[in-house]
Symmetry: none
Subunit: 196 residues, 4 copies
DNA sequence: TATGAATGAGGGTTCATTCAT
DNA sequence: TATGAATGAACCCTCATTCAT
């Protein structure tokens, strides 16, 4: 669970900040809040980051790193496209529901806070994921593992099903993460089975 | 498209504010912004609303009114549970993608901004929708129209697929709203068909 | 002594701010200082001005207005060029030494604080004064009232002699403003008399 | 062009700082700016200077050293008072217009930044220059080289003409420094010639 | 000497809100 | 109803300075 952030101090700042922004939103989180959470002063915080927006950008890249490390990378080598998709969903569900990693969903709700190049950079990384899914769907169609559908629609449907969960999933609820992942996967992939 | 807001002045304020908050977020939208958009002064605005949070609450209730009026109410009388679900999805997709109504999605992203009773009130109304879906799924299972699944999971999967769209759908994109609704419905409901 | 500033409130703010900036410099004067001097809060101050730089610009225009009103305008109709120059110097000395008007010299020392269009606007107004002097010198040469010299150099020499005074002149010193103006005028204009 | 600053390191710091303060003002120049210009860290800078104000004082003394070395010292031995004054003006003009020495004018515009003893010390050194000029004027009057005028006024008129130049002189302008010095000198000293 | 990290104080600015008119 | 003016609190950020290493 280690991504490309150099200093451990900075890393801990990113994690504290991510937690707060996850809970209260970017505009709703002040630099004072973040400094308090890190046990430093505001001025001390600015020794490690340039601006609040740069901090958000770092968090997003950090979240993207984490996502790629825990979801995309371990799945790249699965040659069977359908198996790859199922594994991806399972891992993504785990990421979004696990208390220690769910803050990565900041990537999702603060979608229009960044501006300019920063926004472009993050959007580019998100697009990679969408393309990854589309490709897998197309391969699965080509091999006859799933029926013919619009791959873009399939990708966004996949994402909606998985990413929406952070709005309602509670770790103390009735379903275990495993049941959750299985149930969601069953619902989603059954709809794609080839018609006899 | 008329919901339960008394004065037309207030109604127009809610709509302007909803548009802004949809675009820039609650914290990112100032009372000055809203006053400007309404062509009034800040002090003038305060003759119609009590506080900013009360304004948000009103908008959310307004959005919920709209949602119930355009999605839930017209569908209540459909006795066939599966037909009811399909109609619900079609109408919900329309609501979320139509430029004149998509602001209701504020209900979704400002989920943790309200506090106390206000938050409870809105959450209660959301829960009604979830229950409505669960019930429909259960009825459809009972009548054998769909296979046996966890109705809660089905409801949230339905919601995720539909509500997530506002993150990526662009009205100037390749798909018409109709194609979108059809495609999403096909993907989702195919997975629920009873196994032979 | 009335120039083109609309509201009397704003006018008093400009005067208080001018006094402070005159004494401590632009960067050395905080908005808090200015608010205190005006008997308001910082936030109250911002009801009347947009930014600190805009405030400085207003002060400079205000100073320029005052300058034109008290120095340039009353002198425009003097047809004799040499008499016009002498009157100009007398009035300018008065402006710079009088305790109630000397703050206009902010125009001078904060010459590089403004940026962009604001700077251009002020520089343009200064240039008008330089041109006014050059023209008068040229006319006086043409009519034989003074000897032939470089009119630009004469203008800047005139300005240096007069404007520099704010660095050393103290109203409680040995010389009365009148003696000062006479002495400076004598020194400067004697050097321009035509050689016999 | 060597003045009484001990370490070469310190000397280079003073020069870099002088350049910055000349361009942006004392309050407008941060210790970080200075450290950057010197290629050191802020903390490193503090091994050479005690405080920012002490740095300014050093720069002013450094500027005064330079001034005395390049203007006053070479002129002290000229016994003819009028020749001495003319030489002084020529050298002072050169100092103020030359790109490598014009930063000494900081001495002039940051006149009220220093406080207490530091301010007194610098003012005392400035006063020496004024006294030097006054004395020369008095001697020239006594010897009949110039007509009778108020020596203090003459000194400040001299200074105004010369020192004001940094506000408008551009080294890429129409006049060479030599023409400038000659022109200014002509204007100024012609006014002092004894009346026949 | 040099530095990375830290800090208290203060910078300019914006905020939601109030109130006399 | 409507508004211009005001405010206290908070905003993001920068400052000169210190100190352990």
């Amino acid at each position: 669970m280690n991504s490309r952030v150099s200093s451990p101090k900075l890393r801990s700042i990113l994690q504290q900040a991510a937690k707060l922004i996850y809970l209260k939103g970017y505009e709703g989180t002040s630099m004072q809040d973040i400094a308090d959470a890190c046990g430093m002063t505001k001025a001390g915080l600015y020794h490690h980051i340039a601006t609040k927006e740069a901090l958000l950008l770092s968090i997003m890249h950090f979240g993207m790193d984490l996502f790629e490390e825990l979801v995309l990378d371990p799945v790249q080598d699965i040659t069977d496209p359908l198996a790859r998709l199922k594994q991806t969903m399972a891992r993504n569900v785990e990421l979004v529901t696990n208390d220690t990693t769910k803050e990565v969903t900041i990537i999702l709700h603060e979608h229009s806070t960044l501006t300019g190049d920063a926004q472009k950079a993050i959007n580019a990384r998100k697009k990679v994921y969408v393309r990854f899914l589309e490709t897998a769907f197309e391969q699965a169609m080509a091999s006859g593992q799933i029926r013919k559908v619009n791959s873009t629609l399939a990708a966004f449907s996949f994402l909606g099903t998985v990413l929406w969960m952070y709005k309602w999933y509670r770790s103390d609820g009735a379903l275990t993460p495993q049941q959750l992942a299985d149930g969601i996967g069953d619902l989603f992939f059954k709809g794609l089975e080839p018609t006899p």
